[in-house]
């Protein structure tokens, strides 16, 4: 289906080419306006179709992720009970763990980098105790 759409768009582009180059290198203002509007529409159409494709693949992966989460959740409890709590080892040069409250890892890393940059201090010389989202 995508291929059919692309062939149609290419045909329209070819017609526009003929229309715009018939009069030589110089275009009339009317032809230029048509080319500009058509070009902007092609960019929009291309990216809208790409957006739909991304939504479809996103939906597929979300459903797949939800299924894979549901399966181990059923078996998770006995495993958790059986396994003793193992304390995570610190990375070399690390200043310890940071407690995160409603803040994803990526954002926390970004915040720490910004703070280090503003303070003009290397990140490994700073000790972050916790990062909490203020709602």
């Amino acid at each position: 289906m995508v291929e059919n759409t692309t062939i149609a768009v290419t045909e329209i582009a070819t017609k526009a080419t003929e229309a715009t180059t018939e009069s030589g290198d110089k275009l009339s203002i009317g032809e230029a306006a048509v080319t500009a509007i058509f070009g902007y529409s092609v960019v929009f159409a291309g990216l809208v179709i790409l957006m739909i494709v991304l939504y479809c693949t996103g939906a597929y992966f979300k459903s797949k992720e939800a299924k894979s989460k549901a399966v181990p959740a059923n078996n998770a409890e006995p495993v958790q009970k059986a396994a003793p709590a193992v304390e995570q080892k610190l990375a070399p040069g690390s200043a310890g763990h940071v407690k995160l409250f409603d803040v994803p890892d990526k954002e926390a890393a970004m915040i720490m980098a910004i703070v280090a940059d503003k303070m003009q201090k290397p990140l490994n010389e700073l000790h972050f105790i916790s990062i909490k989202e203020v709602k």
Partner: protein, 405 residues
Amino acid sequence: MDVIETLKTLWNDSGFQSFFVDSGWKNLVMIVISCLLLYLGIKKKFEPLLLVGIAFGCLLVNLSYFGEGSSDALYHLDLWDNFLDPDHEDYHSYGAILKHGGLLDILYIGVKAGVYPSLIFMGVGAMTDFGPLISNPKSLLLGAAAQMGVFLAFFGAICLGFTGQEAASIGIIGGADGPTAIFLTTRLAPHLLGAIAIAAYSYMALIPMIQPPIMKALTTEKERQVKMEQSRTVSKTEKIIFPIIVAMFVILLLPSTAPLVGCLMLGNLWRECGVTERLSDTVQNALMNIVTVFLGISVGATTAATRFLSLETIKIVGLGLAAFCFSTIGGLLVGKLMYKLSGGKINPLIGSAGVSAVPMAARVSQMEGQKANPKNFLLMHAMGPNVAGVIGSAIAAGFLLAVFK
């Protein structure tokens, strides 16, 4: 040995003498302009990685090329004019360039053949995380909207008397994407390359000054304060599939985008697939730096005084600025529309990041958002439209190339 005669010969051979013959004074003006560009690149840090090379290329060509017959020149405009003239025996003859050309002529072959811009795109792809775009595909609408400046500047250029091919090359400045602008211009209007490349890179460096007043004028304080929700996490598989899908789809849609989009997506695939770290690292660093060296200096070489100092250049500079402004406006207007349709959940400031200029435009959205609300972190949200803009400007360039080549 006749000392006086020898001194006369030396004087006649020297470049100093050429400044006082015919339009040699124009070279002096270009030397001053190249020093100004060097100042902007070094002192003001205007896209220094490229602008310093471009400025020095400009200096070198204007020190050595004073019109036809400059046998020791590093770059020969006349050779490239013959290369493009269908009636000339050297038409499309790289052999003639290699035989008669100077160092910069030979380096320029990479620009002319579209090799450098594509390799730069490969590096950009390897450095870009498309995660924010994949997690929020609506960003693509903002990337599309922000191409408005491309087509308005194209229209404006036609009104000012440029040909269709020249207008298309000028318009693409509004895509805020240097490699794309160079790629398209070398194919459609190579005689304008110097002016267009300098305008594109200068305005990209000036984004923190150009965009904020427009952003403030088009958005309300309430809109700028909107705090956006965290996007979903994107899986590794999605990130691997993304460049393959985009390459297939965009290249099928507009085959003329294949060099740019193909290289962009290949670079990104190397980054995301997890088994080609060495290649990803090389493309991001070593290759990118090497190509930047060649691209900067050879683009600068196209600014020979005889071609660059004209009314056309001033028009290009003006149209380029208009293109940037209208692209920002296009992104912001669709951002505002999305704000309304989402019930105030989308901050319209991320729309201005739809002009490519990665990551500068996204940083400007972040800064303006934080000025309105210090708890606002728009950077990752703005990165979506920002990388969508790269794809959007490649599609716009592909369309213009398909129509005017």
